[in-house]
Symmetry: C2
Subunit: 270 residues, 2 copies
């Protein structure tokens, strides 16, 4: 069977999407307010006159950005993937852009087929505010110690119950997740925290960032985070760091999207 075509004759298409989430009420369509999903579904309707339903890999919250969100939808007819990308980019406002489109297998699911998600959190760590990181990073105006952050975050790598780092009253019943790695680097004034894992709970990364920064400020022993984990109580972790610093960087699948027919080659002549 041809990728993208099911027995019922439906073609499944996956989009790779980047957006500045500042002006959106998150990914998912709400009763009111502009959402990323809503804008892209509207653009598809304008372009190919079909109302589709997009299903994404990670539903980002209000103000959270994406560099490589993935979402799939089904169409009855075949479309040119290049024309789809170019056409959608021509309709969408400039804070959303379609990076690529793929013909995927009918059993591909943007959320459930994902094997790894990578998020980055940016902290602008300088005594002075900068006009150029507004809505792009969390500003912390006292110097953070990278070794402290790395050591504290290290206790969170592995499979464990992250209930202490999950938004209260979240829908998730099972709060066990696996973090594969947390890497922390500094580039000039910007600290980049990279999270890789199979899946993350609601607000999990933002609560982790808020917790390790708070623990540093309070001069707590890095190992104390083990007590926070064990307590399984959101009351014991730190504030939820603001959404503007968080980016869904990429989502990986097996087989990878790069092995599918796509609108653009990975390596353009740039």
């Amino acid at each position: 069977m041809e990728p993208g075509t099911s027995e019922s004759g439906l073609n499944r298409i996956a989009l790779e999407i980047q957006y500045d989430g500042t002006c959106y009420n998150g990914w998912q369509i709400q009763n009111s307010g502009k959402t990323v999903q809503g804008e892209i579904e509207r653009a598809i309707k304008i372009l190919i006159r079909k109302q589709v339903r997009l299903i994404c890999a990670g539903r980002t919250d209000t103000g959270v950005h994406a560099l490589g969100q993935v979402a799939h939808f089904d169409l009855e007819e075949k479309v040119s993937l290049q024309k789809l990308c170019i056409g959608l980019n021509g309709i969408l406002e400039r804070d959303i852009s379609i990076k690529n489109a793929y013909n995927v297998l009918p059993d591909f699911h943007a959320r459930f087929s994902a094997v790894c998600r990578e998020y980055v959190y940016l902290i602008y760590n300088y005594y002075l505010k900068s006009p150029f990181v507004t809505n792009r990073a969390l500003w912390i105006n006292h110097p953070l110690d990278l070794d402290y952050l790395r050591k504290t975050a290290g206790y969170l790598v592995g499979e464990m119950d992250f209930k202490s780092f999950c938004k209260k009253n979240s829908a998730s019943e099972n709060t066990v997740r696996r973090i594969d790695s947390i890497e922390i680097e500094k580039y000039n004034e910007v600290i980049v925290i990279r999270f890789k894992g199979n899946a993350f709970l609601h607000n999990m990364i933002r609560i982790i960032v808020g917790t390790i920064c708070r623990m540093f400020k309070d001069k707590m022993d890095p190992a104390y985070i083990v007590e926070i984990i064990k307590s399984k109580d959101r009351e014991n972790s730190g504030d939820t760091a603001p959404p503007c610093g968080l980016y869904l960087r990429s989502v990986s699948y097996q087989p990878p999207l790069s092995s599918m027919e796509s609108a653009f080659l990975e390596k353009m002549p740039f």
Copy 2:
């Protein structure tokens, strides 16, 4: 005589300023519209109840940014430089920030004492639009050749008449300027063009960028730019590149500002 205090008892203060110029009608106060100068003068008036007049090193146009603009003003009383910076940053909107303040000699002049100005122009060179460089760089969606740009720009280094690269009906009668260097580098998808020189004509950098990019697209011999220079006619150069890619990066003085009493040390513990 103490720096910052003249015989008449006036204290001269220089501010180092960064701003995202997107929402401003340039630096200089106009009859209508929000300007960077206007906002800072208003903030000074709120903070120390004095109407001052700021004189800057380079009057940036609408939409042009600054990482290190310098402007001076005079006050009758002595003020704490730290309190001045912190207070102004507390009043100013987040797209303008005061980086530092200096007590300078009474004969210091932000514009006329400047010995070197550095501007950078950013080009986002990728086939796909990016939400994250909106208002921050010029987007060119065909691949530019760095060697071509370097070779063409090389003809503009030195002292010469830049009349072909000056906005028509500009106030400048003397259009001879000296460019000390033009350096072109690429970092991922972003081409950074750095200009250093004593002073620049109105729109000069934007016209140079527009011209060398146009010449590349039209496959013209790099040496043809010598003919454009010689013609001393704005009709022969290219379009004025948009303001969003241009940043006034720094202004140098002799003696340097770093040798003056300042609000913040150059090396903060970050």
